[in-house]
Symmetry: C2
Subunit: 154 residues, 2 copies
């Protein structure tokens, strides 16, 4: 129920920026901050409704849009493991990579200084001003890779 320690208090942060905080927005923001899994719009709606029962789908999407524009959340596709939904997570200090297992569906997170180096290289060599990056990797997680071998898949 309490926000994880390493995460900032988004509600205050946004209010300080002059963003209007409605109960609906508060509900969405709290859910997205407190739930560790990656949420799609549907589950976000479901969870936000526990706090603010009359909240509508449209408000969820509008709030997500707002948070994306403010750059406080990242949008993920997670390799479209389950349809074409998008998933959302609060931006972390260090960006991380998502490893999606096609076999068991688990999502692992991975971060690496090589990724940071790669991003600097991109800015430097392509003269590209990076606002957001998304690195998704699909394949088999360790456990499933072993099963693949046993079963002769690969």
């Amino acid at each position: 129920m309490s926000p994880s320690l390493e995460r900032r208090d988004l509600v205050h942060e946004l209010r300080a920026k002059g963003i209007r905080i409605t109960p609906q927005r508060r509900a969405v923001i709290e859910v997205i901050q407190e739930v560790r899994e990656h949420l799609d719009a549907g589950s976000l709606l479901e969870l936000a409704r526990k706090r603010h029962p009359r909240i509508d789908r449209a408000t969820i999407y509008r709030t997500i849009d707002l948070l994306k524009k403010l750059r406080v959340v990242d949008e993920l596709d997670l390799m479209h493991l389950e349809g074409e939904k998008h998933f959302y997570e609060v931006k972390t200090v260090r960006e991380h990579i998502h490893l999606a297992c096609f076999r068991c569906g688990r999502i692992e997170e991975f971060s690496s200084s090589l990724f940071e180096q790669l991003k600097s290289e991109i800015s430097r060599e392509a003269g590209f001003h990076i606002r957001v990056t998304r690195l998704e990797v699909g394949g088999s997680c360790q456990a499933c890779a072993e099963k693949d071998v046993q079963e002769g898949n690969r």
Copy 2:
């Protein structure tokens, strides 16, 4: 009109694998091989119809699926610059990164040995067996980054 030199002849490659080559599939494959831009299902349909006028939307999607499963094409989101379409490209020897400019919409490609190193690191350290990766970067391309500064955006 002629396929670019560095690309293999997919039709023969697939037939060798026992894949049935229909005129519809041939049309889709030829288009995807010959056109340099990233195509979404809609433009793929339009272009494939020039070769095989009665081809249907469903066949496009089914063929894309087939090619994805055979791992001869990659699916891209290109940062959802224009809606939620997906884009397709024939897999290249070396995977590359797509840089999407939010301002002018241009897509640049970038490849780097750091990316290859990062992928090895992921397999090694996470024990993850990588099948496909997608690295997309959004921001401002060189030209637009300059305009951003001039206009005080940033």
